[in-house]
Symmetry: C2
Subunit: 555 residues, 2 copies
């Protein structure tokens, strides 16, 4: 029997309207580039605006794009840093019935062009600092009709089809009426990082975007409310900055955008001066921030971060030692979240169960895991034979996911082997190897392709890395599989020591051996100057396996 | 263009599964009746169980109901107090594809029978304390096939079709598989209080129930998380206890149910001993609690309520003086929420905007309003001619609402005049007279039928009542319209003095006149021993207007 409830679709215009009215006066802060210093480094300029102004410009942007002849569902790409202009695109493009396609600026220009062509983007909003790419992009992407340049440009733009974004926006009247949008219509698009094969596109819907905002806000999620000041350091070109721009606009939190600046000193200054309460980023960002906070404290100029309630870490697993360092050195709480491009991304969020102190040993151990599924997301584990595995906190299995903001396919029907039916429902194979415990805590052990399979047993490279990174002389560590005639694969540790320090294989093994079965311990340790990192901040283990494939222990 | 997101319906089984797994160990506490004292008063017994056990029994209940031959969409009524058994019905009935119909136990037995017949309930779960009603209900409701009695019954149940709930539940195997449920299917049903005309049924959907839980949880909503202990004092037969049983189960908050006990002493004891962090009820409950807290403090036996973060008040407006008294006397924060049976009920929630101290004069003034629309709810104001009115915080208009958990109709198509189209969208006419300000703060001025229309101007009875109730000698006050030959209507104050005190019309007028235009001031004040209150705790103003219709000022 049908109920008596209104059929009101869940759409992005609702988020825009809420920002435009209820939170019109709430601030949006962006660091812009005011110029260059003598060394050619960008000089920061603090720009302040409001949700009311952002919403107004978002509606002008939407009207302008429709005025260019774009049709419902057409893609509008961005190559942009975190700023109020990018937020305008987040709100204005989907509210005009178009699809916001955020492209990763760290990709190789050829990859960017491939993605723009694959997505058939008709318009590109590009940050002025990347303006040098415009001619190449135009040459490589014949279907791209219009390019709008975000931020001041030093000279008039001479190329056909290229215009100044601000002038374009302010030359329009605000959209007078939202188009009809079904909640299953596409609102935004992201491509997977594609470390294997071509990148694949995922189209988020209006429904999934709104639900994701609702589920992100509660305290056991990301804990966003109007009184908060949120700085997403995770880029807005990366899985919608974990949805934070939408969640914050829906709940009225002040947003702080770092623009091109991501060094520890600038970030620490923003956290302090803007009164940031919640911030989110990948482990490498937090390592840089920690170093800066440690330095400042040691030099007697500690930052005042009393407003900062939580640092959210995702993208890859943060070692427990990092969580402990933030707490012990600075009284700051770091919490994991986990997700992927295909999960919008919020799949799990970290919180400790009632009755457990977050900063006890048990609390840290739980917080070193990725957390529990947020409401409406189901997680499960499968064996290599496709059988469901127990949720005992020990058994490793392939992590599968299901929920209203999890992909059921990729753009143009590619990669269908990642989606499959089980018990009559559709599931997504995350490609992660994980454990689940009875309370639902999920712990990523590895990407399935990075897992080390030794004598029929599974060894988690991530677990080993996190343990090794707790060693005081180690700055970074990646553990990869090396071929072994007897065991098929054996673990090899690649370690970057802290500046001026060194560490031997024997010291590493002595340090971690209390925590692991003997067969887990790496057969060798290589010292390196750096570890290759990809466009989304993750170790490029495939390259490393290639690089070290001729290495032999003892050689 | 369609997106790539999974089509996962939003249904109550998700809430049940989350309670059954993630929060299996979290506690559910109920006060049960252990017997009667010499005066015949019930003696409380603390019962403790877990979400895991509640979920297991909910699945057994669902299987048992289907075993009785119930078909998808069939209604299962409850006449029950707040307890773990009622929670089992909340979770188990909709998860079996049936509709949970909670009936107000404070209604007259004839009204109850009318509602059971109108809803065509096939099964009734009735609290043992109301067992005396069973023969009359059976006689009046021929379509009611089965009655299950909640809680221990003193003797074997002799009537045909009447069985013990616990025995029934534990005689079943848990439901092995959830039925196919569409998110627009009905999950629960409530009837309006029907102070005018017959009660009308509203069928909540699975979608609206899940969305309502998501939107209730964030900090600017009701602020529910796993670490919380929530005591809904609002009855579970009243608009789903404002959705709290579902919200708490979805987020793992411990729940505390007072059963038949609602006196200030018992409630204060529960708040203290269970470590309640969030509680919710109507103003009359809070007045009783305040009196008990004041008494205990004065007698040097103050309760320890340090865990208590917020008292949520709804159902009718709480005067600012009550908010201030809880803060000034006990350091407790009271926050308004507003809604109706037709709005599931959460329409607005009270929070102060960023930068305003909740306990400043500005904060109290804002918190005395009903708050701002929660995400996805739109509110607007219409004139008597149906024109939209400004949101200036002053202009009174008919409050209309729209959103995914707001009714589009009543059961069997009754009362269609409450729903209408505006600008191409469907809206619900709340029947409330309110103001809205630029930031979205909504302030109920009156029910439209209680508004006093004097010389073409509107006078808010609620505003006058709240101002008069701030007078130290006044316990309760209702302001009603009396007919006036010159002005059509004029306000009449009916006042219940505090015990041992008295107050004159002149004192009242002197007390409130600084706050109001002269024409707002009541023409007369009547002192009464009590004010008639209906089954949902609201003043019965229609009866009062009848009672005082021959009253003449000066008489």
């Amino acid at each position: 029997m049908q109920g008596n409830m209104m059929d009101v679709p869940l759409t992005v215009p609702f988020i825009l309207e809420r920002a435009r009215t209820t939170y019109a006066g709430r601030e949006v802060v962006s660091l812009l580039v005011a110029g260059r210093d003598e060394a050619g480094q960008p000089i920061a300029h603090r720009h302040s605006t409001t949700y009311g102004a952002v919403a107004d410009r978002a509606l002008r942007l939407g009207a302008g794009l429709l005025g260019l002849g774009l049709q419902p569902g057409d893609r509008v790409a961005t190559l942009a840093v975190n700023s109020f202009r990018h937020l305008e695109a987040y709100l204005g493009v989907p509210s005009a019935g178009l699809v916001l396609h955020t492209v990763n600026i760290r990709l190789h220009p050829e990859q960017i062009a491939w993605i723009l062509n694959h997505a058939e983007d008709r318009v590109l909003l590009i940050e002025n600092v990347f303006g040098a790419m415009i001619p190449a992009i135009k040459a490589a992407c014949p279907k791209l009709e219009h390019i709008l340049v975000l931020g001041p440009t030093p000279a008039p733009i001479p190329l056909p089809g290229v215009a100044d974004y601000d002038a374009f926006v302010m030359g329009q009247e605000p959209l007078a009426r939202y188009p009809q949008i079904a909640e299953t219509d596409a609102a935004a698009m992201c491509y997977t990082s594609g470390t294997t094969g071509n990148p694949k596109g995922v189209l988020y819907t209006h429904r999934s975007t709104v639900l994701h905002s609702l589920v992100s806000a509660p305290k056991d999620g990301l804990n966003v409310g109007e009184a908060d000041t949120v700085m997403p350091i995770v880029p807005m070109f990366h899985v919608n900055a974990w949805g934070l721009p939408y969640t914050c606009a829906m709940y009225g939190a002040k947003q702080v955008f770092g623009g091109v600046f991501s060094d520890g000193r600038t970030l620490a200054g923003l956290l302090q001066n803007e009164g940031v309460t919640i911030t989110a980023g990948v482990p490498t960002i937090w390592m840089g921030l920690l170093a800066e906070l440690d330095r400042a404290k040691a030099e007697g100029e500690a930052y005042d971060l009393h407003a900062l309630e939580r640092l959210i870490v995702g993208g890859s697993a943060a070692p427990e030692s990092l969580l402990r360092a933030f707490w012990n050195n600075h009284g700051l709480t770091m919490l994991h979240a986990w997700g992927m491009t295909e999960t919008h991304p919020l799949g799990t969020a970290s919180s400790v169960p009632a009755g457990v102190d977050a900063n006890s040993d048990e609390g840290f151990a739980l917080r070193a895991k990725q957390g529990r599924a947020v409401p409406l997301v189901w997680l499960d584990l499968l064996s290599e034979e496709g059988e469901k595995l127990p949720h005992d906190g020990k058994t490793m299995g392939r992590l599968i996911a299901r929920g209203p903001w999890i992909a059921n396919s990729y753009f143009k029907g590619e990669g269908q082997s990642n989606f499959f039916e089980l018990d009559g429902n559709l599931w997504f194979d995350t490609g992660d190897i994980a454990t689940l415990d009875a309370r639902g805590y999920m712990h990523i052990q590895d990407r399935s392709k990075d897992l080390i399979k030794s004598g029929g047993e599974w060894i988690s490279s991530v677990d080993l890395e996190n343990a090794i990174m707790a060693h005081p002389a180690v700055a970074q560590c990646a553990v990869i599989a090396m071929e072994d005639p007897k065991w098929d694969e054996r673990p090899l540790a690649v370690v970057v020591p802290r500046p001026g320090q060194s560490v031997s294989h024997e010291e590493i093994i002595a340090f971690i051996s209390p925590k692991f079965a003997k067969f887990w311990l790496p057969d060798a340790t290589i010292t390196a100057e750096s570890i290759p990192i990809g466009a989304t901040g993750k170790f490029l283990k495939r390259e490393m396996r290639e690089q070290y494939k001729d290495f032999k222990p003892g050689s």
